[in-house]
Amino acid sequence: MTGISTDVLLDIHRRMVRIRTFEEEAGKLMESGKIPGALHLYVGEEAVAAGVMVHLRDTDQITSTHRGHGHLVAKGGDLKRMYAELFGRATGYCKGKGGSMHVSDLDLGMLGANGIVGAGPPIAIGAAFSNKYRGTDDVTCCFFGDGASNEGTFHEAANMAALYKLPVIFICENNGFGEFTRQERHQAIHDIADRAAGYGMPGVVVDGMDALAVYESAGEAIARARRGDGPTFLEYKTYRYFDHVGVRGMGVIYREDSEVLEWRQRDPINLMEARLAEQGLLSPEGAAEVHEAALADVREAIAFAEASPFPEPSALMEDIYTLTASAGGGA
């Protein structure tokens, strides 16, 4: 942990705890039928979002996935507007029109969760292109899964990113499954980062349960992109504790409970707390306070969402086309 400031360490920890709390409570609400639709929860993978996002500014963009709550929470998303969106309320990020799979927050550079697997990478390189074109040193982090790494869209985007030396970081969250299909049943390689070489960019395999390893690897890749040295492919080995959709993650046909328990042994939050305690940076009481604060924020967000109105019927036909005039004067 040498070289990483205490503030940053505590910040990463806090972000992870906020994600977990957000997701666990959302899962309960989905199970009890209060939140409709399909929630793809991020529990188990918190170190990735937190370790990457702590490097980013509001003007840096991210593209997210169907499993996107964790990304937005870590990027500083407003929990109230997030929960309101999950509840389909007018106060939600998308006025209840997008739901869990389509939350976005342009003020934070969150270009959107996306219900379509593999839709993010091409969008990410375009955002990176805009940064380069406008001469900023902002970067774009593109989150996607092991499953998505098999979509043509990823390969097209990776090639272009390296070709044009775009300030983009491909962040592959390898949780071992695409839905219910195990990685070895959907691709012949073990390390997805091997693919980076084929496009002419560095590929790095990292322990995605170790927030510090995530922090360091992401830091290097992001610095490289900011310098104008082009894209990096980061593969984070991680695991989703819950089911593909919803909460139940054990007693399922596609994996053994023992595997889940094994991964849980290396829980990213526990790991971080143990290290912080070892260094004398966070006591068990201090950690408990972080958890309590997160729970208080999440509860407040849920109460806000539940008290919020549903969108007016008139909202249905709004926002299909923008009414904003373009710079050129057209509509």
Partner: protein, 327 residues
């Protein structure tokens, strides 16, 4: 005959066809070990083995393209695309190759393939996950488009799809999977393409639907009978390509009124094609302009109230019919 849900009838059809024809194999995301997102292929991996039931990567374009090549190589693939929403990623292979190769090659190439996908909104999955594209696929010459509304039809049509040397787009509305019905167990039970089904006879108005919208149509017909003493004839098209327009025209000539119901967007929708053909062939018999009930022209929102306001309901169908009897 046995009572079963549509998903089970589809599985029966796949099983029977695989037993009949060794060139048939299944390919798709999570169709093997997991048994399919809608449990249609459950048990088939165990029964037919890995050689014939293949779990694929998430790679829609690759899967469909592989299906085309396998079909050209003498096999009869069934490709499952999970949901119709993901078929956009395979659209080039479907439209530029599967649909066109036969004609472009002067009839040398055949692409006998069945592409199955679930469709429809109403589950609060928001805009990317709620498409109804039956009409879009029917727009492309060279594809056959099938959309069953019940268990027996699902079985007879899916079995029929494997007797076809063309690519068949087989679209299953998610709301129909759980609907139960009596299904014949005769292994030769087939339903011919291009034969609409008159679900309910009537004399005052013809209501035409397909896939999911058949159910709004039949519920509306029941309401019209009970509450308004209007006798509605309900026609389930069953296949959009080929299209059994003769049955629709004969009905409209009898009832003199026609309402078209579909889950898809109204603008540029398949209902416009139907309305146009009714106009061309039965103009002099019409007592009112053809009415269309369809999805509002908006990406389907997540919020339940908004989503249901966008989708066509049986009340919308009733209103459309009543509108024809005014003045």
């Amino acid at each position: 005959m046995a009572e079963m849900r549509m998903r089970d009838a589809l599985r029966e059809a796949l099983r029977e066809e695989m037993l009949r024809d060794e060139t048939i194999f299944l390919m798709g995301e999570d169709i093997g070990l997991y048994g399919g997102s809608y449990a249609v292929t459950k048990g088939l991996l165990e029964e037919f083995g890995e050689a014939r039931v293949i779990d694929t990567p998430i790679a829609e374009s690759g899967i469909v393209g592989a299906g085309i090549g396998a079909a050209m190589g003498g096999l009869h693939p069934m490709v499952e695309l999970m949901t119709i929403n993901f078929s956009f990623l395979a659209l080039d292979q479907i439209v530029n190759s599967a649909a066109k190769l036969h004609h472009m090659s002067n009839g040398q190439i055949h692409v006998p393939m069945v592409i199955r996908m679930a469709s429809g909104g109403g589950s609060q999955l928001a805009a990317t996950h709620s498409h109804s594209l039956e009409g879009m696929y029917a727009h492309f010459p060279g594809l056959k488009v099938v959309c069953p509304s019940n268990a027996a039809d699902a079985k007879g049509l899916l079995k029929r799809a494997f007797r076809d040397q063309n690519t068949v787009i087989f679209i299953e509305h998610t709301a129909n999977y759980a609907i139960k019905g009596e299904v014949p167990d005769d292994p030769d039970f087939l339903i011919e393409f291009g034969v609409a089904n008159i679900l309910r006879e009537g004399t005052d108005v013809t209501i035409v639907g397909y896939g999911g919208s058949v159910h709004q149509a039949t519920r509306a017909a029941a309401l019209l009978e009970e509450q308004e003493e209007i006798s509605a004839e309900v026609i389930d098209l069953r296949t959009l390509q080929p299209l059994d327009m003769d049955t629709v025209i004969a009905s409209v000539k009898k009832t003199n009124r026609c309402v078209i119901v579909e889950d898809a967007w109204r603008f540029g929708g398949f209902g416009g094609e139907l309305a146009s053909q009714v106009m061309e062939r039965a103009f002099d018999w019409l007592d009112a302009p053809v009415a269309r009930v369809a999805c509002k022209d908006v990406p389907l929102p997540y919020n339940r109230n908004l989503e249901f306001a966008a989708l066509p309901s049986e009340e919308d169908v009733v209103d459309a019919v009543l509108g024809m009897f005014k003045e």
